[in-house]
């Protein structure tokens, strides 16, 4: 994953410079906007104390569990529904309906079922990610080239060979779209659920704590950390996708 200075680093440096200028100008109350230097100092302190690692770990694993569960269930289910287009046709409205429900609304239901614990947060992340995975995997199969399936059939391929050696590969670019969108969604939901009741650890709960304690540098540092987490996850996925789906831009 190579970083390009002009595209990936320079805009961030520019933003930091602008931020520093605004802080130094005295236009904004430091209570509302800490300076980049103060924020960086607070970040260094949090890392030195090691507290932030605990929050980072909790957030990371919650999101990962929910996301992986959605991947393991959503992708095969989506492939199945896409392959049997008629069943997808029957369920499309239902999938759209569930996709239209803001996942965070499910949190109270998850609390009722699983109680105040990790499972309820993971369940909401799963709920938010799984419909995106199902939808994109199904569409990947539905829009795959039928000529390839026909070519394989003429060559004598059986149904399971058509699925495992043609359909999955043809749907891969769209499956990756689903993975990337649902990972972003997973991060959003994961952090928001931590900001609600019952989370002792996690970046979301640290943001709430920093806000109530008027610890503005800590608040901004945690927000930046969440942003960097999402940014890094997305970039890693893109690099992985470009390696796996090497034919995507060639077709």
């Amino acid at each position: 994953m190579a970083l390009n200075f002009k595209k990936d680093i320079a805009p961030f440096l520019g933003l930091i410079v602008l931020w520093q200028v605004i802080s130094m100008s005295g236009l904004v109350n430091p209570m509302f906007l800490s300076s980049p230097l103060e924020t960086a100092k607070e970040g260094a302190k949090l890392f030195a104390e090691g507290k932030i690692f605990v929050d980072l770990g909790y957030s990371f694993f919650r999101i990962l569990y929910g996301f992986l569960l959605a991947f393991l269930i959503g992708v095969p289910l989506g492939l199945f529904l896409g392959y049997y287009g008629r069943i997808y046709g029957y369920l499309e409205s239902l999938i759209d309906f569930f996709r239209s429900i803001p996942p965070i609304l499910i949190f109270p239901v998850a609390l009722l079922i699983f109680g105040i614990g990790e499972q309820s947060r993971i369940a909401v992340i799963f709920f938010g990610c799984v419909s995106i995975m199902i939808l994109n995997s199904s569409l990947g199969v539905i829009y795959s080239r039928k000529v390839r399936i026909n070519a394989a059939r003429i060559m004598g391929a059986r149904w399971y060979q058509i699925i495992s050696r043609i359909v999955i590969f043809d749907a891969l670019p769209q499956i990756f779209v689903g993975i990337r969108v649902s990972l972003s969604m997973g991060i959003i939901i994961g952090i928001v659920t931590e900001m609600l009741v019952g989370a002792k650890y996690g970046l979301g709960s640290r943001v709430v704590y920093a806000q109530t304690a008027y610890a503005t540098p800590e608040l901004y540092f945690t927000i930046i950390l969440v942003g960097l987490m999402g940014f890094a996850a997305n970039r890693l996925l893109i690099a992985f996708e470009n390696r796996v789906v090497h034919w995507k831009y060639a077709a």
């Binding site: 390839r148 026909n150 070519a151 004598g156 060979q161």
Partner: protein, 255 residues
Amino acid sequence: MNGINVRNVSRKVKLPDGRDEIIFADFSLTVGDGEVVGMFGPNGCGKTTLLNMISGILEPDSGEVSIFGRKPSEKNIAYIFQDYQSSLFPWLSVRDNILFPLSIRRTKKSEMKERLHCLTDLIKMPFNLDKYPYQLCGGQQQYVSVMRGLISDPAIMLADEPFSGLDYTNSMWLMERMSGILRKIKIPTIIVAHDIEYLFYLAGRVCFLAGKPARIIREKHTNLDHSKEDSLDYSGLKEAELELRRYYAEEGAYS
């Protein structure tokens, strides 16, 4: 025994407005062993449907299709699709694309290597097999489809407008090679093309398809002998073309 035998076949298709249209009614065609037949006709006259029925992708509503007396599904068929980009597997290298028909039959690696060696010995491969299809030009990609069809030692070859997605240079390049392949591999072959010149260059017999339901309105023997390098005979090409234009204009086949 005829290589390809299409006997009294009927087939209707559903139009977008829900109506049924009869594409073939009591249609028959035979292709002898080693014979190369060209199919020429206006768009939508049923050329691709015919190839799909012969290959077994489509079942006729009535009638029978047989390949050397057997059902299409019981024979290896080399099918060259018009859209080479959609028919090749871009995630596989050229080598793996060509070997795909063997790999799905769980052929031993040593045997696959041997078969590929024999094929490349017989038919020259003017590019690196480790490349991916999208790294080749159009004509070469279509050539890979031909190779992939031939690797499994097919009983027949069906080519559905193999040149139509290519520019002039690529078409000429591929046509030269197809001609060479047909000279070496003598299997019953049907080639569908929009350009009558290509068919006169490659086929020993050209059938002109028209009407709804489709029927063969003319047949023309080109005197082309694939065993001889320079047996090309374009005599009759012009008159056939003129005759056809007249016929299609009268029948409204282009409408």
